[in-house]
Structure formats: C-alpha cells, structure tokens
C-alpha cells in the first residue's frame, strides 16, 4: 500500500512541484491549500506524514496550528515544515511543537525526497522496535550514552532523551568520533540545504538542554570556538 503524505501549501505552483516529485516516488500525495481544508480532511483520515507551510493564506501561523492538531491526534506522526521563515525563533518554535524537520525555502526536491524516505524508515523502525523490543544490532554505546540508530532512540544514563531527527543526527555525528566536528560537517550531517552556523548552535543548545533535564551536570558536548563541537566526557 502506498504511503500517504499530506501537503499543506497555499502556493499552488510550489505545491504542484512537491506533489509531482513525491508522486514520482510512488507516494499517495494529498494536497491542501489552507488549514480549514486540511483539518477537514484530517478529521476523517490522518496521513502518514505531513509537509506543512507555516503561513497559509491569511493565517500567519496556520501551519503551527495544523502541527499542534496532528500531534494531538498522533504524537508519532512525522511532520516536516517547509517554510520561508528562517528565523531562529520560528525554527525553535516549530521544533518545539514536535516537528521532525524544519526546512527553509528554497527547497531541494532531491533532499526532501531523501528526508521523507528516511523519516518513513525511522517511523517503521520505531514501530518495529516498539513491537519487538530493542533492536540490538543498531545499538551503540559510548560511555553513558546509548543510541539506537534504527529506532532513532537515545538514552543517557539509561533514561531516554527525546530528540528530534535533526538533533539525533547531529548527536550521532558528534558521538561517532573522538575528534571535534566542524560546523560544516555538522551541517552536512543534518543534510539541510543552506544553513547558517547559528542554526547548528541552536540545535546544539537544544540537545544540551534536553540532556541537562536528565542530568544537570551534563557537559559532554564541548564548544570548539571557531570550529565546531566535540563529544568529550571528562
């Protein structure tokens, strides 16, 4: 059965491009041009993944509203924001709402397809993991850190740290090596298009905060000023 993807985008031209590209990948793509239309459709049936623009027609935060609605219905639903709003605050807000990804326009269709593919995989693994217990093959243990790349789960001192996929990939990139990882390398790891250094800083801040929630003394992600970050537990 085809996997269903909902696209909510008020610009018909852009929506058509997304839809065409995704249909070409054999997804079941459903297009909506505003919040009302989308919610009406979601009321009867939820998609398996949603791509949302934030500003929808006259509603400046329409996309956020849909995201909140969907997360209420299904907390594990992958949501990708595709937006022209690249402010840190917007980005933080979107990710805080539980979006898996936050991509700014212009979008690379190729990259979008890869991301969506991987999100479906993650979702699949996560549900598999949930059904069949932890999959030990993909487990990796570095000190107190325990990551499962398949289920995209991360544990610190045996407690799960709830990371977004982007944060997860950054953490993996850092934890994989003893060396410092440059910002450029981290940008590549998140597989985002054009990213300011500061976007990575924002993500790292979030990761640190989430770890600190569990362990107030967490200090393993070091800043390498002018270069990048390093996973180093002393």
């Amino acid at each position: 059965m085809k996997q269903s993807i909902a696209i909510v985008e008020d610009d018909a031209q852009q929506r058509r491009y997304y839809a065409e590209a995704l249909r070409a990948q054999n997804y079941d793509v459903r297009e909506y041009e505003d919040r009302q239309q989308a919610i009406a459709a979601f009321d009867s049936e939820l998609p398996e993944l949603a791509i949302l623009d934030i500003a929808l027609k006259s509603e400046v935060g329409g996309g956020y509203e849909i995201c909140r609605y969907l997360k209420q219905r299904d907390a594990s639903l992958p949501i990708v924001f595709l937006t022209s709003r690249g402010d840190e605050l917007d980005r933080i807000y979107g990710l805080q709402l539980g979006a898996w990804d936050y991509q700014t326009k212009p979008v690379s269709l190729e990259y979008l397809i890869v991301r969506i593919e991987s999100f479906f995989q993650i979702k699949q693994f996560a549900s598999d993991a949930g059904n069949a217990g932890s999959n030990k093959v993909h487990n990796k243990k570095i000190g107190d850190l325990n990551i499962n790349q398949k289920s995209m789960q991360c544990f610190w001192k045996a407690e799960e740290v709830n990371l977004t996929p982007t944060e997860f990939s950054l953490l993996v990139a850092l934890a994989e090596t003893d060396e410092a990882v440059s910002v450029d390398a981290l940008i590549k790891a998140t597989r985002q298009g054009v990213v300011e250094d500061n976007t990575i800083n924002t993500h790292i801040l979030h990761i640190r905060k989430k770890f600190k929630k569990i362990d107030a003394g967490f200090k393993c992600i070091k800043t390498r000023y002018g270069f990048g970050y390093q996973w180093l537990c002393e």
Binding site: Y17, G86, D87, P106, E110, G226
Partner: protein
Amino acid sequence: MKLGTRLLVFSSVFLVMLPWFGYHFVKKIESSLLQGQEEAQSMAASAIATVLNGYTGLFDTDEHALYVYPFKQSIHVDGYDEDWRQLKEQFTWYGENAFSLLLANDSQYLYIYLKVIDKDIVYRNPRYRSLDASDHIRLEYIDKNNQRQRLVLLTAAQGSVSVYRVKENWRDWKSGKHVNAVYGVWRETASGYDVEIRLPENWLEPNRRLSLSVVDVFGENERNIERIVSTHNLDNNILNPLLFQSSEITSVLKNLSESDSRICVIDKYRRVRAVTGGQTLRASLCHAIDKVSTTLVDKVLLGEAQVKRIEDDGETIIVAARPVFDGEEVIGAVLVSKNSRQILALQRDTLNDVMFVTLGIFSLVFISLLFFSSWLAFRINRLKKQTASLIDDSGRFINHVELPDSDCSDEIGELSRSFSSLLGKLNSYTCFLETVPRMLRHEILNPVNTISMSLQNIRKKEDSADIVIASKAIRQLQVIVSSLTEAASIDEALMQDELEKTDIAALISEYVSNSQLKHADAKLHYYGVESGVYVLANDIRIVQLLDKLKDNALDFALPETEISFQLDVSQRQQLTISIKNEGETIPQAQLDGLFQGMVSHRSVKAATPHLGIGLYVAFQIAQFHHGQLKIANRGDKQGVVVRLILPTIDN
C-alpha cells in the same frame, strides 16, 4: 528654569503685591479715620463752645491782667531760667524793654521771673538806710483783709535778695525784719540782672491782684531814682489782676472732656483759661498755642471755625477750634486737640494683622505651590521615565506599560495620552519596519522556491551550464535574504539569550587557533593571555560576533598578510579586543555609518554578496553585552582595526 521654580517666582511676585495692597488699604482707612476724628473733634469743640457761650463772665478780664501759667513740675528758685525754658516765648515786656516778666504757679506758690535790662546795676549799700537807694523790685498785692501790702526786694550783691515789708513811701520798712516767706535770687546777666521770686499763693486770695515794679537807681553816689517801670498803670494805681486758669471753666470742661483729648479754652488775648484732659498729649500744645499755630488761633478769634492737623514729632495732632461768642463779639475760643496715636496704633495693628495674614497666606500658598509644583514635576518626571522605559535606543517598544496619569483630565493626562498615541503610532511604524524584512523574505522566497524547483525539474531532463549558473544565483539570493532576516531579528533573538560568566581569553585563543584550521590560506594570530579574563557573555553570540569580524577582516585582508586578534585588559574593568588586518582603508567620513546596517564601503572581492550586514549584527551583539564596537583605520594607514570593548567581571 525648572517648571516649579518658574511657578514659584511668578506667584511670589503676585503674592508680594498683597501686602502692598494691604498697606494702601490701611492708608485709606487711616485717612478716613482721621477725617472722622476731625469731624468728631469739631463737633465736640462746637458743643463746648455752645456751652461756654452762656458763660461770658468767665472771660471777663481786662487786658492788664497778669497771666499765671500753671506749672506741673517744681521750680527751683536759683536765678536761672532753666526751669522756665518751655515758657521762654511767653515772657512779656514792660516799659519799652525795661524788663520782661513771667508768672507761674503750682499748688503752693506763685513764682515770678524777671529779666531786667540794666547797664549799670546799683546794689544796696549799708551806708544808705533808705530802702530806695539801690536798684530794687517793688511788689504790691492785696491781702485777704483787702489791705494793700508792699514788699521791696533788694540786695547788696548777687544771690538771695532781702525782702522787707515797707510803708507807702517805699523808703522805710515797717518792722525791719526780713519777710522770710518770700524768697528770691538775684543774678547778673550780660544785659542786666534776673530775679526769680517765690511767694505763697494763699497770700493773694481771694482778690488775686498783684503788681510788680522795677526801680532803676542812678549813680553810685547820687542814688537817685531814675525810672520806675511797673506792670500796673501808675496813674490809676490799680493793681493788675492775676489771671489763673479758670477753675469754673475747668469744672465745666471736666464734664465734657475725654481723657485722651485735650480741651483748651483761650480768651481773646490768647491766654489759656482752662485746660483739661489729654494727659497723654504733649503738654506744650495749649501753653504754646500761639507759637504752634498762630494762624489757627487768629482765624478762630476772627470767628471762623477751624480744623487743623499738626505734625509734631512724628505724630499727628488734630486740633479743632471753635470761637466762643458773646453776642456778635468773639470772647474766646475752644480748642479740642487729640493726637492720632490711637488711630496710628489702630493702623499699626491693622498693618500688623495684614502682615501676619499675608505672611500666613504667603507661606500657605508657598508651601502649597511648592507641593503642587513638586507634584507636577514628579508627574512629568515619572511620565518622562516611563516613556523612556517604553522604548529602547533604537525606538523599539520593549515594554507595554500603561503610561501614568493617562486617565487624568489635566494637561499632564493629556500629555500622557498624546504620548501614548504617539508611541502607539511609533510602535506600529516600528512594527511595520520590523516586519518588512520578513514580509520581503516571504514574498521573495516563495517565487525563489518555485524557480528553484523548476530549475531542479529542468535539470533532471537536461543539464546545462546555464542551469548551474541560475541555481548558483538562486543560492546567492537565498543568502542575501537570510542575512537580511538575521539582521532584522537579531535584537529579538538576543533578548532570548542568557549571559553567563565566560573566560573570554580562553575563548578567543581557542577561536583563533580553530579558525586558523578552518582558513588554512589565511594567517590568523592571537596576541594576549591564554585564559583568566572573565566577562558576562553568551559564548555563542561572542563567537557569532567574532565570526562577523573575522569574515570582514578576511574579505578585505591582502593575501599573505596577517590578521591579528589582540586582547588587552585595562585596569578599569574593561577589556579591548582589537582585530587588525592589512589592506584598503575606509574614508574617515564613512566610518561612523558602518554599523548602521546595509552599508558597505569597500569594494567586494569575495564571492559572497557583501551588504555590510555582518558589522550591523556584530554591533548589536556588542551592545547586548554592554560593550562598544569601534572601527578605525590603522595608525600606519596600512589597514583597518576593529575594536571590541567589553566590561570585565572579577573572577
């Protein structure tokens, strides 16, 4: 001048006018009171005059009468006229300047003072038995038995005189004994001699007739009587009546007088016949009435009623005068004198009251004005502070507090409301400006996204160099838009950040060595301590700032030249980070505008677009850290130096 001060000065000027008005008012009252008093005195004088009109007998005296001035103080009989000084003008001359005479009495004695002009005084000589053989004074009076008594006063030298009772021939004494009851002193003067005499007044009762004669004797050897000048007419030999102040009139007046006004009755020869009341008045007025106001008395004696104010030694005396008639003839006058001391006292009291009340009102108004103006100033200041706190240096709203007094109906309330509306307008305009980059981004990025995706689709079908170029251009466009929004939202983003204690030396040192790794073709060098300099900062923002400055330096540095980062810590809790590069300098005039955003003054050599936004963002971050960012050309003109000055904290 401050608002409060101005208010105080203006109100003080008007307040000072209050006592001035009060003073004028009191003056008016005074003059009307004086006028009232004049009228009252005139009426009193008229009433007295009318009463006295019936008593014509009281003024019945002949012109030869000798007037006896009443004396309050005692007289010391010594031949000197000290005691008589206040009556000096009242001496009456007799016999073509032969002698002048003045009589006075107190309750016991009659006093007589004679000033005799005599070039050649002939004193008594014991060789001559006769009593008229030297210059002497003859005194005649009628005793209580209606007998005419004759006394001779003479002396052998200056000093006490000898008094003898003599026979009618004035030559032989009756008993040869001194009359001790009469005491007199003889004193030589430049023009002759003075004699002061005292005799018991009861000798004269009840006839009150007395006469004095001065006998001038010529020649030390001859001793002939040369001249006799007498106060009475020697032809009819009737003694002068003594004119005391009339006790009858006085008793009439006593019933009419008030204690504070002096009533004075004079006869047509201007002699005071009765005085009553007015103990508080200066005593001389009635005695010296001729002198004080001759014209007044003249006119009254001509039958005209008079009122006059006399300024005397600082006080005003009002004299009302009315003639006393006997039929058509004026026989005397009544003078009612009263000083205005009472009125003046009243005036002084009123003035004092006015002063006190004014002072009271003044201080009350002053205090309330002070309070009011301070209150106003406080409100204005509060409004100023609140208004200032609402917006930051760049005019953005940072608070949404309601301004004080905005519900007041006064001017400050109005000011507050108009500030509110003004700030509201400013806010909406600022909001509009702030949303412009976002709107622009939204509006630009959507078509850019469409183009980008179109290009991707085309590229899938056929790849050409043109498409690659177009894709590159799209990326550049994206960078421009994202740096625009970064600049626009930097303030907002900074406000979310937290500051913590950061070792800036370690940070820079690490930053420079890491950056060197990143930019292998550049020469970055750090000069300064490796650690131990602390600031309150957000390290990621500091790195962002350093990135901007480093990128700027890299863009404009000449190839193969060094970019130096230098950390200097000054004593005054301050550190300076100088970033120097070699290369093109910036015209002096443009240096100041460099941090305002969207301004770039140097020709671009980098591939990335250069809007000068980097410096603007760096400037905002520096400000957020309470620091300063300064850009200048190097002293050696070989390039540019950017200085970041930050406050340090103690370790």
